[in-house]
């Protein structure tokens, strides 16, 4: 890789200045688990790398009733899944943050980086979309917000303009009777990139025996040029009873929406098949969590979780 200038500003203002000066020739460094690999592969040959980890705002993780969850762009995965507040309120994010790479990767990789890297197969993005997350961005023209589902614009490209950087990701606290779940399919049990991923967030109404969906959001990984919000699949559930049938119908809509390609990680047809399987499982997991039932994450899962409505 070509050598570059390494900078480590301690304020957002300084960082924006360093980035703006170089435009496309500057890259932001957070956890580095994508960037450093890409530098070696010469996908980018920046003149300046701006390490943002010394900036307080991008390192904060906080959950509050009023402001919801705020994850600084450089907060590594291991801090996210260890956080009690996240575990309790955003189990679907815990699911996603503990399967990005192995423990070593999770020691560095951030959800902000995962989002900015804009890989179609990014595990955290469907989970963030399902929770209705927003990206908080700062640049030479000040701050702005971008819905996470609009953040990725193509494989490896995002909505940030030259000089802009991601500061944090935020999302509202889920209401009562709601739950989220993210899962993916990989041939091994860890370390792979998702062949397909599915995240779901549901809010339920009705009594325990006659639950109905008040709302649902479903998002997919690795089946389109960007992580994909399938709004119509979620909308199809609104007001519907929680049954295997309504869930299967939503999964079928998700399958329709998927536009997978064939590559060494899986053939397109198989990916489309998996969208149906995983969407169902993500919805069932989210429903169970909304009902206060236990759905294991990757560390808790000792064997196969059962994806059946109780």
């Amino acid at each position: 890789m070509r050598d570059f200038e390494y900078t480590a500003p301690s304020t957002l203002r300084e960082a924006v200045k360093l980035l703006s000066e170089k435009g496309e020739a500057a890259r932001v460094l957070a956890g580095g688990t994508d960037l450093i690999v890409q530098l070696r592969a010469r996908r980018f040959q920046p003149e300046r790398v701006v390490d943002v980890k010394n900036i307080p705002e991008v390192n904060e993780l906080s959950v509050s009733p009023r402001k919801g969850l705020r994850i600084g762009a450089a907060v590594p995965c291991h801090r996210i899944y260890a956080d009690e507040g996240v575990k309790e309120q955003f189990a679907g994010l815990t699911d996603a943050s503990m399967i990005i790479g192995g423990i070593q990767i999770q020691g560095r990789a951030s959800l902000g980086g995962n989002l900015c890297n804009a890989s179609p197969s990014a595990d955290s993005i469907p989970a963030l979309i399902a929770y209705g997350a927003e990206a908080e961005v700062i640049g030479p023209d000040g701050k702005r917000k971008i819905a996470v589902e609009d953040f990725c614009t193509g494989p490896g490209s995002n909505a940030l303009k030259p000089g802009e950087m991601l500061v944090a990701i935020r999302m509202p606290l889920p209401k009562n009777n709601s739950g989220g779940h993210y899962l993916r399919f990989i041939p091994r049990n860890e370390m792979d990139i998702a062949v397909v991923g599915a995240g779901a967030f549901v809010e339920l109404g009705g009594r325990s025996k006659t639950r109905v969906f008040k709302s649902a959001r479903i998002a997919l990984a690795a089946v389109a040029p960007t992580p994909l919000l399938v709004a119509e699949a979620g909308a199809s559930l609104e007001g519907q009873p929680v049954t295997e049938e309504t869930i299967a119908a939503a999964a079928a809509i998700a399958q329709e929406a998927a536009r997978p390609i064939s590559d060494m990680r899986g053939p397109a047809e198989y990916r489309r098949h998996l969208v149906g399987v995983l969407t169902k499982r993500a919805l069932i997991g989210a429903v169970k969590r909304a009902n206060g039932e236990f759905v294991p994450n990757a560390v808790q899962s000792n064997g196969h979780p059962v994806y059946q409505l109780s």
């Binding site: 890789m1 990680r265 053939p267 198989y270 064997g303 196969h304």
Partner: protein
């Protein structure tokens, strides 16, 4: 994941079929090089750093098949920090010829062409030029400044296409040979071999039950964690010194001397600790380039491959196409078999087709059999041995057919195999008659094992079993042993130690002299410090180098007896040695080994024992049996290994923990081969998954404990009854796992790896399994 048995116990079960009990052999001492390896102190090839050392990098072909029209290195040479660039033009003239590598031969033109491409590149990753610079990063920048013009040619990337008459030819001059006889036929088929015994056609005609299978397996890699590396220092006096991680320092020396066209005496290879090999570190790759760069720059040069280089440029094991047909009489005795085996050699001839043809039916007693084997060049990296090379590719088709026949006969799969197991006196298809072997005992132990006797229930769960075979290679080994004044012994051997063999060799030495394993200090000598020793491969080190250690210990014993005689002013025939004590026959004088060692100075000076061996007797083979339980997710096709048992004949297990380690490691490599590992190629012949991310070797989370049962059927040809155990364990796992998956899903599978999408397709194509 189920755990069977206490998880912190230090060893598995051992079943003895007539081996002796010893004082040192069969115990589990801590390995001699262990402390250095758990503290990070051990020096591996990549850890070498020499004064003035430059860093080398290699430019590799982006194309699978192309003619090199022009290479311009001037821009790279002009980059500040670059000391030299080399290409094939810097190699000696490539006129051809053969070199004996101990374990087979190689064509010198092909060898040189694989180090740096001559007129053609034959696979993506084929080395084209080397650069030496002041830092790794400068060398890497220089690669981008080398201009190469290619004329693209059509690639051939699978064995079936390559065998067609219409296929593009990789080597214009290549013709098919049949057991060293040139047929004159221009083809990508470099060699055809045939074994035939009895009257196969007639035997099939009279058979009661017939089954057949047609199997394809993907190219897979040994997957050692340490990339190939080499550091060269070419001195002004013409002496070349190489530090490298190699499976055989003398084989590396021979290859370097041949490729560079210099006498072997001018090459000294200093083997470093080696981070895995499994056959893949027998050939040299970067060492000759480092040597050329060193000669050109007058500096030492170190080259370490990147992981992508390792996948794309070092020898994987061949992808294969295999057809097998077998038949029994009405009672269930095998009467006939035939096999067609085609292996992808890669860019140059030399897949292990001989071994495949020999191993294919080696587990069974079959009176009429024929095997045709083909060594076929394709536009992939030149294949290299990988643990029991050729055996794994042929074991699944045979075992699948055996399961089919057992079903037709209504017999238990193990019982059916036992009815037909090869044993002492069985004649194999290549004509060889077996000495005492342990295949039958392994099957019996499998049948009676807790695992096989246990119930397996639950939907989409299935059990499979299989047996595989690998022979031993004897070959040459040397050992010297210097007795120290404190009665310990420094033992020098020539076999590089990949898995604890220093200790298994030292233990045989200690046993022979009645000493403790801890009293022996084994080390691996370089090519100037020990006699010629063949590669660490072919399951031979504990067997052959262990035998040399036994002989060296006998030599020490003889000399020490003479010293005792001098000390006691007696004669050697009056002194005896047992249980570590020298005594005169009348019992009047005695001294233990340590006491006598203190007297060496006064009785003639140092004692150095030595031995070389080249065993040609008692080179037995080893059988491995697997039992595996799997569960398949019917919605995704994902396979989980629930329980896995490996049973293997070790002859006598010198250090049972390291025997178990070989069994477990080979099993897990076989599981990876079965489930996920493969070279994924694009149509242009580019490997699309040359990272550990996408090559998908098993992680700790993909496996249960690997249960082992060591079967000890002594090898009558070895002083301690040893059979080499390094390789057989990789042969049966794909067969056993595939059988388990077929049983779990009610499908028939015929391609490796058993990818989830393939399983889903097979399930959709077949009648729904009787879940439960």
């Amino acid at each position: 994941m189920t755990d069977h048995g206490e998880t912190t116990r230090k060893g598995g079960e051992i079943r003895n079929f007539g081996t002796q009990t010893y004082k040192v052999v069969g115990t589990r001492p801590i390995r001699h090089d262990g402390t250095d390896k758990v503290t990070g102190r051990a020096v591996y090839g990549g850890d070498i750093r020499l004064p003035g050392m430059l860093y080398g990098q290699i430019l590799r072909s982006p194309h699978a098949h192309a003619r090199i029209q022009r290479i311009d290195t001037s821009r790279a040479e002009a980059l500040p920090g670059v000391h030299a660039v080399v290409t094939a033009a810097d190699l000696p003239d490539t006129t051809g010829g053969r070199i004996d590598l101990g374990e087979g031969h190689a064509d010198t033109k092909y060898m040189r062409d694989n180090i740096l491409a001559g007129d053609k590149v034959l696979y993506r990753g084929h080395a084209v030029a080397g650069v030496a610079a002041v830092s790794l990063h400068v060398a890497e920048e220089a690669l981008a400044l080398i201009d190469v013009d290619y004329e693209l040619l059509e690639p051939v990337i699978d064995v079936e296409t390559a065998m067609k008459d219409s296929a593009p030819l990789l080597h214009e001059g290549l013709t098919t040979t049949e057991l060293n006889e040139d047929t004159g036929r221009k083809s990508n088929i470099a060699m055809h071999i045939r074994h035939e015994m009895g009257d196969v056609q007639q035997a099939f005609a009279g058979a009661a039950h017939v089954a057949e299978a047609e199997i394809r397996t993907a190219t897979v890699h040994q997957g050692y964690i340490e990339p190939q590396n080499g550091t060269a220092s070419w001195s002004e006096d013409g002496q070349l010194t190489i530090w490298t991680s190699t499976q055989g320092s003398f084989t590396a020396q021979k290859q370097l001397a041949t490729i560079l066209d210099i006498p072997v005496s001018k090459v000294r290879v200093i083997p470093q600790e080696i981070g895995g090999g499994f056959g893949g570190k027998i050939p040299v790759y970067v060492e000759p380039v480092a040597a050329l760069l060193s000669r050109k720059t007058a500096h030492p040069v170190k080259i370490i491959m990147t992981r992508a280089d390792v996948f794309e440029s070092t020898g994987p094991t061949p992808g294969s196409y295999v057809r097998v047909k077998m038949a029994t009489d009405a009672s269930g005795k095998l009467v006939a078999s035939e096999a067609h085996i085609a292996l992808e050699a890669g860019a140059f001839p030399g897949a292990e087709i001989g071994a495949a043809a020999m191993c294919v039916f080696s587990c069974y007693d079959i009176p009429h059999a024929v095997v045709d084997g083909y060594d076929v060049v394709v536009n992939k990296p030149k294949s290299a041995p990988y643990r029991a090379p050729g055996a794994t590719q042929v074991t699944w088709p045979v075992e699948k057919v055996m399961d089919d026949l057992a079903r037709q006969l209504g017999k238990d799969p193990v019982a059916f195999r036992l009815d037909n197991a090869a044993a002492e006196g069985t004649r194999r298809v290549d004509g060889i008659v077996y000495p005492r072997i342990g295949g039958r005992e392994c099957l019996e132990v499998a049948r009676d094992s807790d695992h096989y006797q246990s119930e397996l229930s639950g939907p989409y769960r299935g059990r499979g079993m299989a047996i595989g075979y690998w022979f031993n290679i004897g070959l040459k080994s040397a050992v010297t042993a210097s007795v120290n004044a404190d009665g310990t012994v420094h033992l020098v051997e020539g076999s590089t130690d990949i898995g604890g063999t220093r200790t298994s060799v030292a233990m045989q030495f200690a046993e022979t002299l009645g000493l403790d394993a801890a009293d022996i200090y084994p080390s691996v000598g370089d090519t100037s410090a020990i006699g010629y020793t063949d590669v660490t491969g072919g399951s031979r080190v504990t067997y052959a180098t262990g035998w040399a250690a036994y002989e060296a210990a006998e030599d020490v014993k003889r000399q020490m007896i003479e010293r005792a005689a001098i000390l006691w002013e007696s004669s050697a025939d009056q002194v005896e040695y047992s249980d570590g004590v020298f005594k005169t026959r009348d019992g009047s004088k005695s001294a233990d080994f340590k006491q006598l060692a203190q007297k060496l100075e006064d009785t003639g000076g140092p004692v150095v024992g030595r031995a070389t061996v080249h065993p040609d007797t008692g080179v037995g083979g080893s059988f491995a049996v697997n039992i595996v339980d799997v569960e398949v997710d019917p919605d995704t096709g994902k396979v989980d290994i629930l329980r896995f048992t490996v049973i293997q004949d070790a002859g006598k297990a010198i250090h049972p923990s390291y025997v178990e380690g070989q069994m477990q490691g080979g099993s897990v490599q076989g599981i990876g081969w079965a489930l996920n590992e493969e070279y994924a190629y694009t149509e242009e012949g580019r490997m699309a998954n040359s990272t550990f991310l996408d090559y998908r070797m098993p992680t700790s989370l993909d496996l249960p404990m690997i249960e082992t049962i060591i079967v000890e059927v002594p090898n009558p040809g070895h002083p301690y009854g040893v059979r080499g155990v390094g390789e057989a364990s990789i042969a049966p796992p794909p067969a056993a796992v595939a059988a388990a998956v077929e049983n779990a899903t009610g499908t028939q599978l015929n391609v490796l790896p058993l990818r989830p999408d393939r399983i889903i397709n097979a399930m959709e194509d077949s009648i729904p399994a009787a879940a439960g």
